[in-house]
Symmetry: C2
Subunit: 160 residues, 2 copies
DNA sequence: TCAAGTTAGTTCCTTTTTCAGACTGACTGT
DNA sequence: ACAGTCAGTCTGAAAAAGGAACTAACTTGA
């Protein structure tokens, strides 16, 4: 598996990793979800080197996750705004936040709490089945080769 | 933000990234969920260098995501098995797979299909609110500083 | 009008990580 | 005795990341 052709693998996880699976990308996206939009703001809140930030923003624009939108003509200045494709990464980030809350916490409690504006409650994100609505567990899922797949694979029962 | 102290940041996303946010770890975990357990099997299916595989497995054991279990005494041989903490990463991987299916597909269709053994249907994973059960969207979530947080932050309305 | 500040990068050099592949050691099966 | 398996380790080269100064095009305030 080559790192620079990961987005051509017949595996949706590989393709996602090709986009968000490097050292800074998910942290940049967290800032986007916290409404950070400008180069200097990303740089100072993440302490990422300017060079790498520049590269990562270009990559996210290239993959259609951020849009580079001018907000000043002279001098030319741009801000970076999540597209629909970028907004759709919210579940990925929330899944990681939730795992961190559950398994990487310290004695001080969780760093952030999330309130659902729809119901007004503090909540945790839960991954459910689109068909029956039940929470998903690895051992209850069976994998089939799809049309874009290479070969059949067994059931995704986790090593127990 | 330093890469090697990311797991001490007051941010659950950073802490999760400290564990699974490097070049190979999530791909190794995908193999674990596909019931791969042995060094040679990881190596040949991922084409990862043996050195890096060894490092990554050690790291996953150190963080309590895999257990190193002997299956042969002479010669000493071990296999790597997901712990509960590791199994709990399933939603992270499924969220990424689903995003890849939705946004990185090619003309051939999705590589894998998932069947929920509970209801028998092919499904997509959906992230919902633990309190009201509605699907989550970034713009409907408001963030508050929690006990382990540093400072208050605004609402997570995505840059629109 | 002139110096200082802001913003969005680029350039250069050093350090760290990753890659590719050979090598080791303890066995097994024939 | 000899090839093969398995789980790694070692080494040197290549790629990526880090740190910090520099550039370009303005704006602001004195």
């Amino acid at each position: 598996m080559k790192w620079d052709t990961l987005d051509e693998e017949p595996c949706s996880l590989s393709r996602t990793i090709a986009v968000v699976g490097d050292r800074w990308t998910l942290l940049i996206l967290r800032e986007c979800f916290l409404r950070v939009r400008r180069f200097e703001a990303f740089q100072s809140s993440l302490q990422i080197t300017r060079h790498l930030l520049s590269e990562r923003l270009k990559k996210l624009v290239r993959f259609g996750i951020l849009r580079r939108v001018p907000y000043s003509q002279a001098p030319k200045r741009y801000e970076y705004i999540l597209t629909e494709k970028g907004l759709d990464l919210y579940p990925v980030i929330m899944a990681m936040v939730h795992w961190g809350d559950a398994h990487m916490g310290d004695e001080r409690g969780r760093p952030l709490l999330h309130e659902h504006k729809i119901c007004g409650m503090l909540f945790d994100p839960v991954m459910v089945c689109s068909e029956c609505g039940e929470p998903l567990h690895a051992k209850q899922v069976h994998v089939h080769a799809g049309p874009g797949g290479k070969k059949a694979v067994g059931s995704v029962a986790a090593s127990s």
